[in-house]
């Protein structure tokens, strides 16, 4: 069988890629996609451990995460659309009106 | 604590305040005459009340009479405590005598045409009367202090609103100077009260006499001496004792006539009253120890006041300095610490109020006619106003201490007491009696400059004669001048019991103090 560690390593790599994406990409949608990636990496880890311990908790929780991610994407994309309508750009570096 | 019923003293005390209240609601523009006569009416009512008090007073009783005591702040021992004895009574009588005269004299004053606010003026007069009577009858230290300070307020306004050109300066100086001294007195009061547990004077005095309450006395700079000085300085500023007198010339010169009359007639006596009522009974050893020093200041005041008077060119200033001189006698008399000295001093307080009050009325009438206070502006007035000249002569002679008139009685008994005093002695009597000569010098000089000589100045030739109000004001002064001069027995009678008490309070300590304070024992 495939060892659980492989799934964890995959989850880690995906999470890191997602984190890098969040930190380094300028496009808001790409940042969102990176966030999705991070969430999904967490999903993989959950499923893997659920299989490892032979419990259903992980699977259940994964469904929650997917749902939340979907809702969040809906709201987030709506926000991005609203921002684009105002600023004609979704470059996150240009969004700093709330600075101190 | 005791709670007693309403005493006649309270009624007399608060009558002027009632008048104050009534005047408050009167309308100045429509009820001008009513205001003037209401104010006068209340002063007369107070006078009648005090005379009633007098008629029911028992001179042989040395203690307080007509006592009323109601608690005010029981936890601190502060109560509304009034009562009179001979000394208080005679000063209250002086106050209620002077006030109607001042009010009536103000009726014919022209100052209101310039400054207005006549109603306020009479209200302040009544407030002043209330607070002055309070000073003389209150037996509780804290309440006394309150009344003491309250007298400053109406006087400040009287000088400051209706006074001369430099009135604001004079009023402020008067107020601050007196208050500065009073603060020291407050400190002393608080200390005494905390030590004694109560602020009621008779209780404190009794405790001091019986030895229950001891303020340590070890010389001229010991605790009791500091307490004594606290009171002393406050009173000394009021009297005024040399060298704390420089507020007096300004205050008198700038004050309106009635203001000067009240200031000289009554307010200055509050200081000497304070010596007799507070300093001597509460701090007998310190009084004995400090007596020579105080009496020296008194003698300096007598001579200095008279000498400086002579050099004045403004007649109000001249009379102001004469007050310093006359009250120097009173101070010396008090600190002779014997019956003659004390009784003479008390009588002289009254006499000074009458004669100097009379002098200020006199110069006020001159000022009303000529609007100048310079001696050089007059001359020959006796010819222009014969009746006024004669009356002025009598008042001047009274101030000079001519035998047969009131001033002599007081001065004589004071000087008599000074010679035989255990704390003073020959030197003091000698120098104080010299004041008699100096008094003649400056008073006759003033009289001559104003009334004698040729009537050569045009402005002096057609002066308006005395109005009936002015005559009505001067006649009682003359009556008292002769009455006290020829038959002072009734007044001495009033004082005998209470002054004996004060002397007896101090006597036991005379010998002891001589050991502690060598100066007392070393007197010639």
């Amino acid at each position: 069988m495939v060892p659980t560690e492989a799934y964890i390593i995959l989850s880690m790599v995906l999470f890191a890629m997602g984190a890098m994406g969040v930190l380094l990409r300028r496009n808001a949608i790409v940042v969102f996609m990176s966030v999705e990636l991070m969430l999904n990496s967490a999903n993989i880890a959950l499923v893997a451990f659920s299989r490892h311990w032979n419990q259903a908790d992980g699977h259940l929780f994964t469904f929650f995460v997917i749902t939340v991610a979907a809702a969040e994407v809906a709201v987030g994309l709506a926000l991005i659309v609203a921002i684009f309508r105002t600023k004609q750009s979704i470059n996150i570096d240009e969004l700093h009106l709330m600075e101190g | 604590m005791d709670v007693s019923g309403l005493s006649l003293v309270t009624v007399v005390l608060f009558l002027p305040l009632v008048g104050f209240g009534i005047l408050l609601f009167m309308n100045e523009s429509t009820q001008r005459q009513a205001i003037k006569w209401t104010a006068f009416g209340f002063t007369i009512a107070t006078l009648l009340g005090a005379v009633l008090l007098w008629s029911q007073f028992d001179p042989s009783n040395p203690g307080l009479q007509f006592v009323q005591r109601n608690d005010w702040l029981p936890t601190f021992g502060v109560s509304y405590y009034v009562g009179i004895d001979g000394i208080s009574l005679i000063l209250v009588l002086l106050t209620v005598f002077i006030m109607p005269l001042s009010v009536l004299a103000s009726h014919v004053s022209h100052i209101f045409e310039e400054r207005g606010r006549e109603k306020l003026y009479y209200m302040f007069m009544l407030m002043l009367e209330w607070s002055m009577i309070g000073v003389f009858v209150i037996q509780d230290l804290i309440v006394f202090y309150v009344f003491w300070e309250v007298t400053l307020v109406p006087m400040y306004f009287l000088i400051g609103i209706w006074g001369g050109e430099n009135r604001v300066y004079a009023a402020l100086k008067f107020f601050l100077y007196t208050m500065a001294g009073s603060i020291l007195m407050l400190l002393a009061i608080l200390y005494v009260g905390s030590q004694a547990g109560t602020f009621a004077l008779p209780e404190i005095t009794a405790a001091v006499q019986s030895g229950d309450l001891v303020f340590p006395f070890g010389g001229l700079l010991s605790p009791q001496s500091f307490l004594f000085l606290g009171f002393f300085i406050a009173f000394a500023i009021k009297v005024p004792v040399w060298p704390l007198h420089s507020w007096l010339p300004d205050a008198h010169v700038q004050a309106p006539t009635a203001g000067s009359v009240i200031l000289a007639g009554v307010l200055l006596k509050m200081g000497t009253y304070g010596f007799v009522r507070f300093c001597l009974p509460m701090f007998p050893e310190a009084s004995v120890g400090w007596a020579p020093v105080v009496a020296t200041l008194g003698v300096i005041g007598i001579i200095y006041g008279a000498w400086v008077s002579y050099a004045q060119t403004d007649f109000k200033k001249l009379v102001a300095y004469s007050s310093v001189s006359h009250l120097g006698f009173v101070v010396v008399g008090i600190f002779a610490l014997n019956a003659q000295g004390l009784q003479g001093a008390t009588i002289q307080m009254v006499n000074h109020g009458i004669s100097t009050g009379g002098l200020f009325l006199m110069v006020g009438m001159l000022y009303e006619r000529r609007h100048t206070k310079a001696l050089d502006a007059f001359g020959g007035i006796w010819k222009a106003l014969p009746l006024f000249g004669a009356i002025s002569l009598v008042i001047t002679l009274s101030s000079m201490g001519l035998p047969g008139l009131n001033g002599f009685v007081g001065e004589f008994v004071i000087l008599l007491g000074t010679l035989g005093s255990s704390t003073l002695g020959f030197g003091f009597a000698l120098f104080a009696t010299l004041g008699v000569i100096l008094a003649a010098v400056y008073l006759l000089y003033m009289f001559q400059k104003i009334y004698l000589g040729e009537l050569d100045k045009e402005e002096n030739k057609n002066l308006p004669p005395l109005a009936w109000q002015e005559i009505a004001v001067l006649v009682p002064v003359l009556v008292l001048i002769f009455w006290i001069g020829v038959q002072p027995a009734v007044w001495f009678n009033m004082l005998d019991a209470s002054t004996s008490t004060v002397v007896a309070a101090v006597n036991p300590f005379l010998q002891q103090v001589a050991h502690i304070v060598p100066a007392v024992a070393m007197l010639p």
């Binding site: 570096d93 | 009696t433 003649a440």
Partner: protein, 851 residues
Amino acid sequence: MQSLALIAPLIILLPSLGTIINFFWGPKLNERFSSLIGITASASTFVVWLVLFSYLNGNYYQPAIVDLPILDGWIRIPSVGLEIPWQQRIDTLSVTMMGFVTFVGTLIHIYASGYMHGDPRYARFFAYLNMFLAFMLILVSGNNLLMLFVGWEGVGLCSYLLVGFWFDKKHGVGLKNSNAARKAFVANRIGDFGMLMAIFLAFWTFGTLDLYKPTEVTNPHMMEALASGGGHGEEGAAPANGAAEEGGHGEEAPAGEEGAGDHTGSAAQLVSLASDLPIDQEGDHGEAAAEDHGESASEGHAGPVIAYTDNTHLTFSQLGIFAQAERLAQLGEGETLERGDGTTAGRMINFGAFELDIDTVITLITLFMLLGATGKSAQIPLFVWLPDAMAGPTPVSALIHAATMVTAGVYMMVRANSLFHLAEFSSLVVTIIGVLTALSAGYVAMGQFDIKKVLAYSTVSQLGFMVAAVGVGAYGAAMFHMITHAFFKALLFLGSGSVIHGVEHGHHHAHEHKHDDHGHDEHHAETFDPQDMRNMGGLRRKMPITYATYLIGTLALAGLYPFAGFWSKDEILADSWVAAIQDGKFAGFVALGLFVAAALTAFYMWRQIEMVFHGSPRTEAAEQASESVWSMTVPLVILAVLSLLGGFLNIPSGIGLFSFGLQGVFGEHTLSTWLEYSVVHLHVGAFQPLIAIVSLVLAVAAIILANRIYGSNKAINSEGLDPLEANPASRPIFALSNARLYWDEIYGRLFITPFNRTAAFLANVVDMAFLHDYFHDSVITKGFNGIGRLLSHPIDLGIIDGAVNGIGRLTRWISGGLRRTQAGYVRVYAVALLIGVVAVIVFMLLPVLQG
């Protein structure tokens, strides 16, 4: 008859009534009525005096003490036993004073009614004159030192009012008068200071100020005489030798002209006195009631039966001050006696703060009294007011400054003879002052040109005589001279007034036709002085009555036999000579000085006669002078008669033929005997014929000398100079005399100018510049403001406000720093998030990692 003495208060009340009436209603009364009131008041005092005089005569000269009615005591402090009543003492001494005061006073009132005619304040003048009389009578009749002092200052007040009566005269004259009045009052006040100190000392020494207490015997010697030989009813039965003075009931009134003190024993009702001296009723009990003295109760009209002839039966506190002093002075060291009220008295008098021996105390008291007397009786050093006081109207000068007020000092010292007798040192000082004054004033008088100034200095000089007499113990002589001096000096002053009036009228006359609408003499008065003797001359013929009376007065003053002045002055000279021989110390100087002064007196008075009356008139005014109105000349005549006869009041014994049998009419030592009942230490000296002759010779020689110099119209030479002035040899003497020995200038430099300068210095520099301006305004106000500013700027604004503001700034700074964390960039937030999460996880894993 005791009740007679009770009218004594009237002697004060009646003139007071006159004063009040004239003062208040005077302006509405016409002149006649005003003067009538004044004269009546004055005359009524004389009537009262007559009653009192006969009372004493009928009561064997025993005194009475009378309380004033209505008034209940004066000063009273029961708790210390201070009791000073309004009480009068009626005894021979006070009645003597009252006598000549009231009589001369009345004459002067009459004179003044004419003299002051036309004055706008006529009634006021009489009010003041009456007031003066009232006060003078209070002075002499008071039974305690304080009442004496009331009169003392009162007469000083009246002197002030009367000298300054014309205070409104033009051209500065009014001011001059006022200044003179003020000078008089102040100089007197300095003396009053002395009296007050004496009074204070007396009170603390004796516990009372009463001169005599009831039942006290004044002169034990006389009482014994009365007891042993009293009741001689015969006139003139008194033994011829001068020494025996008992029952000396001379018929001549001491100061009056109505002779009869008729009190023959049979007619006399024996009375019990106000002083409670037990005297038996009507001689029939006389024999039976004789107690401790043999009694000559002869023929049923016995003399007084006297229980006590001295004061040994009285306790100490029942004695007046003089008796107490005598008792105390007799104590030895450490001896004490009971006062009778529980306390004891010894030689050392305790004043409370100090103690003195009784001798020292009595010396101090008498010296202070002397100071008082030098003020009132114008002695050195306080006499300078008297000459200036001549500015007042002449009746004032006559009454106050010649006859009455100035004698008050001498009276007071005679009254206190017990004290002066005990204080030898003081008596010495008194004598020296008296002699010096007599000499220096006499010297100054001869160089004066103002007619009244001569008389003024003469008065000072004569007072010096009296004072010197008191000093050597010749109290009787002093009183005698006081009385005679009152007569002739008043006469001289009134005469001078008459002269001045005459000359003024003459001046007015002379210029009348030239300036008829000018009217006022005053315009000329500044240039023409009617009192300057150089403007007179030859008035003998123009004013004969004035001349005759003035001449009599002069001769009396000069001391020529048989005029009054001879007898009195001679007595003083004789007594001082005797004292000189007996005592030896300074006495020679005294006697000699008085002789010289007497000679000077005769000289300057005769000079005045020559200058004023003899020769020929030197001015128009003198030429046109006329005699004065009757109201002025009649008093002059009366006084002249008295100046002639007055000396017979006290004819000395042993004079033999020289009295021309007058002692048969007037008795011997009438006055002295009379006075002896009240003056304990009065010693009647014997007649000294040598002294009398020497003094007469001196006086006559002086008059002849004056006549040589000033007679035959040489009084003023052609340049208007006095002959002594013109003569270079005598000019310095004259100039110094004319300059009045520079007394006023010296006083000015020594006292007055420094006094004024010190007053100005104290007032302007010490009080205003230093205390008021510098100390209070600069030191206190600026100091206070400085502290205020210090507190407000650096401390309040700087530190306190700074601290509070500083907190704000700190907060801002921190927040400024913190604000920078809010970058606004999502990426930054994300990084922060990440780091935070990592940190949290590490923190949570820490225990696992370690463990």
